[in-house]
């Protein structure tokens, strides 16, 4: 029988709210207990912990650079460009070919700065090209489609590019030649920081500052923010929406290319699947910081890198879980879930475009 009005049960409020509170409490407990046990056990020295942090920052800087591409496209077009990880991978791969050619020509270690710059340009150009191709072929016609569609298209594009690279270049991993000037480390306050990490962090900071200035201070950046807010009104204000969107992809691609070079020079191995996990992590970082928020992407990247690096040893081993390093990715994803439970819009909230109710 169809019922008449009745008193509502507050059941489901209690259920969801209670579960979420339970999760929060468990998470805090786990982190605190694990960290406490780990730190007091003296298993690792303070320097060792800080070392983890530095490594995490280095890794996080790369995540941050890739995350910028995700966050910008999301802010302007409103969908997750799954294929951005492949944009990154393409730069890394082609960069590897370039670097190896330079090494064969003897330039790689004799003029390292020049070589790095050359490979950087090539990597950025490749990534930008791939990003622009993506926009032109796969995404342009879907500008006004419901959000699910370009998302799925991007998944398809991601697979396509991966396996295209597999077909074109083969399955073997490509290695960047070692760069001798990056060997060695400086010692700061008892902490050994590798030159490589310094370069990565430094380069990343420079690029991020550059991008932030671009978005906040230049005319093109203003156009970008306008298009992110409302495409139609921006067009009415005289903004060339098409060009702005292309610019968004280009800038995101260039950032990913830079990340690719840094990744290649530091981590050295690339193969066709490299982009996938990095892409997911980078997107996690973007969400962590607040999607659409450029500073958020940077913060999210660094945070994620540190969580990944420090988390397993700090929390998981402290809780008695063996082989915690295997669960590095678990930590990363759990961090995402927890941040989204604690703060649904990410660490810094959303910026480039607000969700309309």
């Amino acid at each position: 029988m169809v019922a008449e009005q009745g008193t509502p049960k507050r059941l489901h409020f209690d259920f969801v709210g209670a579960v979420l509170w339970l999760v929060r409490i468990l998470a805090i407990l786990a982190v605190v207990i694990g960290a406490f046990v780990s730190l007091t056990s003296g298993r690792l020295s303070a320097a060792a912990w800080l070392n983890f942090v530095v490594i995490g920052i280095g890794q996080g800087a790369i995540y941050a650079l890739i995350a910028l591409g995700y966050t910008m496209v999301y802010g302007v077009l409103g969908f997750i460009n799954f294929a951005h990880g492949e944009v990154f991978m393409s730069g890394a791969m082609v960069g590897a070919f370039a670097a190896n050619s330079l090494a064969q020509a003897g330039m790689w270690n004799s003029s390292p700065i020049l070589s790095i710059l050359i490979v950087l340009l090539i990597a950025m150009a490749t990534s930008t090209l791939v990003a622009l191709l993506l926009e032109r072929v796969a995404y342009r016609r879907l500008r006004n489609a419901p959000r699910l569609i370009p998302l799925i298209t991007s998944i398809g594009a991601s697979f396509f590019i991966q396996y295209a690279f597999l077909g074109l270049f083969g399955a073997q991993t490509r290695t960047y030649p070692a760069l001798s000037i990056l060997d060695g480390f400086i010692t700061v306050a008892g902490l050994n920081i590798r030159y490589a990490d310094i370069m990565v962090i430094g380069a990343a900071v420079v690029m991020m500052v550059g991008l932030y200035t671009f978005v906040e201070r230049t005319k093109a950046g203003r156009a970008l923010r306008a298009v992110a807010e409302d495409k139609e009104i921006a067009a009415l204000m005289g903004v060339n929406v098409n060009r702005t969107i292309v610019l968004t992809f280009a800038v995101g691609g260039a950032m990913a290319g830079a990340a690719a070079l840094l990744f290649g020079v530091v981590f050295r191995t690339v193969f066709f699947f490299s982009g996938f996990l990095f892409g997911i992590k980078a997107f996690t970082a973007a969400v962590l910081g607040g999607i659409g928020n450029i500073v958020g992407a940077m913060l999210g990247g660094l945070t994620l890198g540190i969580f990944e690096s420090v988390g397993p040893s700090l929390v998981l081993t402290g809780l008695g879980i063996p082989s915690a390093h295997q669960l590095k990715d678990v930590v990363a994803f759990l961090a995402l879930v927890l941040v989204l439970i604690f703060k649904p819009t990410g660490l810094l909230g959303e910026r480039l475009s607000e969700e309309r109710a």
Partner: protein
């Protein structure tokens, strides 16, 4: 509205512009040709052309490699020569020799672009980078013709000339397709499609002939070395061509006639339908044999998952990218509960006895995954569920949970299910539980779609805040979707585990989630038949056509992109999905054909019959 087009003559000055001439731009055609050339280069460099050359389609002339190669200029020729769209009220553009010319131009340019990879591959060794620019590729592209050696530069002139000529002809043919009237065009294309399909799927067809005891037909159609005989080709083409021409009209409205029957008659037909289906289902593995049954088993398992994901995404609109986690839970639960080799617990239940626990575990995991994402936005939900999927795999793989799940070694010695004393351990036998569960899942899908909870899911998908304001309990609705989806996936997992006999964590990667997603997208979300077709195409075809296996994901990706651009509702969409995705167009049409508003004070008893 259009009058018969007259030959346009020069317009008298001051008058309207003449009726649209055959509007084909040759420069545009050349541009398309460039794109075509890039595509053809890509296809060759990726390795498809030389690889596929080994597959004979039509003996002795057409291999799959050449088909794929020449399909590019053919396709681009078609696109380049396409007449512009005719809007209502305009006269249709005339088609004629210029279209063929445009197609030929596109094909020519494609062929010219192909010179580059051929020359490069013939003269330089770039195989450390581009692994497929090999002599084999050159040989295929130049038809094995002898090469001329001029000043140290290898130029396969004759081969290149043939290649360019071939591309030109292919392009011209593609352009010519535009010239032919629709009926003939559809018939020709259908005939060609069937020839190619039969040639590609010759194993399936041969098996079918053998299965129905008509072995002689195999010899009629197929050459001993593989591929269709010329005679067979002609037979297939003529058959399909004629049938298509004759039955160009729409098929009879089965649904309407069904509605017209009364209750008792309907029930009779339903029973007859079920009986016939049962017989066919029983016969399928018998007719198709062991190899095909194996393929169908895999298709069935994926189909089960697809039906489950169809409910989560298609009905409730929750983009769950970590669906493989539920599949894994089902498989591992079955393994742990039934296997004698499972490390920790060894209750060693039978498959059927373990099933309720499997579903229970799936339901719990559905709740675990669903609860945190309840209030999350669609994109966040996607990435978080993706994360959960990966977490599941990593946990199953980890050393930490090794005592229970076996870590990287997995769990082996999983027994097959048995009915009474009969153990189901061959692929044909396994087909039956799979197909039964598929039907159950299909029924569940249909039952839930036409129910209170189905409407609630639709409402949530269309406009969640409004659904909530209307009294729908979002929490229970979303969680139900997750739980049902998880349950169906766990069925698939259980079947998978006992079929393979072992579970290893690397079988449960994100790729599985993506494949299932591709199935429902390409097949048609929300439509059971569409999902079935999707499963057959996405999972079945690569198994049948081993040559494609290497390029499987490349093709999936290209297919996804293509479908989203051209037909996002899928091959066999549900009407609702078509409506959702083409809302603006349909809204306009409906406005054109809608009945006029009826005045309240002049209300008639029944409004005029409407055409919707």
């Amino acid at each position: 509205m259009a009058q018969t087009t007259k030959t346009p003559t020069a317009a008298p000055p001051g008058d309207l512009p003449p009726t649209r001439r055959n509007f084909v731009d040759l420069v545009k055609a050349a541009q398309w040709g460039l794109v075509g050339g890039a595509t053809a280069t890509f296809v060759s460099a990726v390795g498809m052309v030389p690889d596929f050359d080994g597959v004979m389609l039509v003996d002795p002339i057409l291999t799959l490699g050449y088909l794929v190669l020449f399909l590019v200029p053919f396709g681009f020729g078609y696109v380049a020569a396409r007449p512009p769209m005719t809007l209502q009220g305009q006269e249709p553009a005339r088609v004629g020799p210029r279209n063929v010319l445009a197609g030929a131009v596109a094909g020519l340019v494609t062929g010219l672009v192909l010179i580059i990879p051929v020359l490069v591959a013939a003269n330089f060794n770039l195989r450390s980078v581009f692994v497929n620019l090999s002599p084999a590729m050159v040989e295929t592209l130049t038809f094995g013709q002898p090469v001329a050696d001029s000043e140290g530069l290898v130029i396969p002139a004759v081969g290149l000339a043939l290649l360019i000529a071939g591309c030109l002809v292919a392009g011209a043919l593609g352009g010519a397709v535009n010239v032919v009237s629709t009926r003939w065009r559809q018939a020709i294309l259908a005939g060609l499609l069937w020839v190619l399909t039969v040639g590609l799927l010759e194993d399936l067809v041969m098996q079918f002939f053998r299965g129905i005891n008509l072995d002689a037909l195999v010899g009629v159609f197929f050459a001993p070395g593989g591929g269709l005989k010329p005679l067979g080709t002609i037979i297939v083409f003529v058959l399909v061509f004629s049938l298509r021409l004759l039955f160009a009209r729409r098929p009879p409205r089965i649904k309407a006639r069904y509605q017209a029957l009364d209750q008792a008659e309907r029930r009779r037909w339903v029973i007859i339908g079920i009986a016939i289906s049962a017989v066919i289902v029983y016969l399928i593995p018998v007719v198709l044999g062991g190899f095909m049954s194996e393929i169908l088993d895999l298709v069935g398992i994926y189909l089960l998952m697809a039906l489950g994901l169809n409910i989560v995404i298609g009905f409730a609109g929750l983009l769950d990218l970590g669906y493989v986690a539920f599949f894994a839970v089902g498989a591992y639960m079955t393994a742990v509960l039934t296997s004698s080799g499972s490390p920790a617990l060894s209750p060693e239940l039978t498959f059927w006895a373990a099933l309720p626990f499997v579903v229970l575990a799936a339901a719990v995991s559905g709740l675990l995954v669903g609860t945190p994402v309840l209030r999350m936005r669609g994109d966040y939900l996607a990435i978080v569920t993706l994360g959960f999927g990966e977490i599941a795999r990593i946990l199953f793989l980890s050393d930490w949970l090794n005592p229970v799940f076996g870590g990287a070694q997995g769990i082996t010695q999983i027994p097959s299910p048995s009915i009474g004393s009969l153990e189901l351990n061959t692929p044909p036998q396994f087909f039956y539980p799979i197909i039964v569960l598929v039907f159950v899942a299909a029924y569940i899908t249909w039952a839930l779609a036409n129910s209170r909870i189905g409407r609630a899911w639709n409402a949530i998908r269309e406009d969640e805040p409004i659904a909530e304001a209307l009294g729908v309990n979002i929490v229970t609705a979303k969680l139900s979707a997750f739980v049902v989806g998880a349950a169906l996936a766990s069925f698939a997992g259980a079947l998978f585990a006992s079929k393979v006999g072992a579970v290893f964590p690397n079988s449960f990667s994100i790729v599985v989630s993506i494949v299932v997603l591709v199935i429902i997208i390409v097949g048609g979300m929300g439509n059971i038949a569409g999902v079935a077709v999707g499963a057959l195409v996405i999972v079945g075809l690569p198994q049948l056509l081993r040559e494609f296996d290497e390029y499987r994901f490349l093709l999936y990706g290209a297919l996804l992109i293509f479908m989203m651009l051209a037909k996002p509702e899928g091959i066999l969409p549900s009407r609702r999905r078509v409506a959702e995705l083409h809302q603006e167009e349909m809204g306009q049409d409906a406005w054109l054909t809608a009945e006029p508003e009826v005045e309240l004070d002049q209300a008639r008893a029944t409004p005029a019959t409407a055409k919707d």
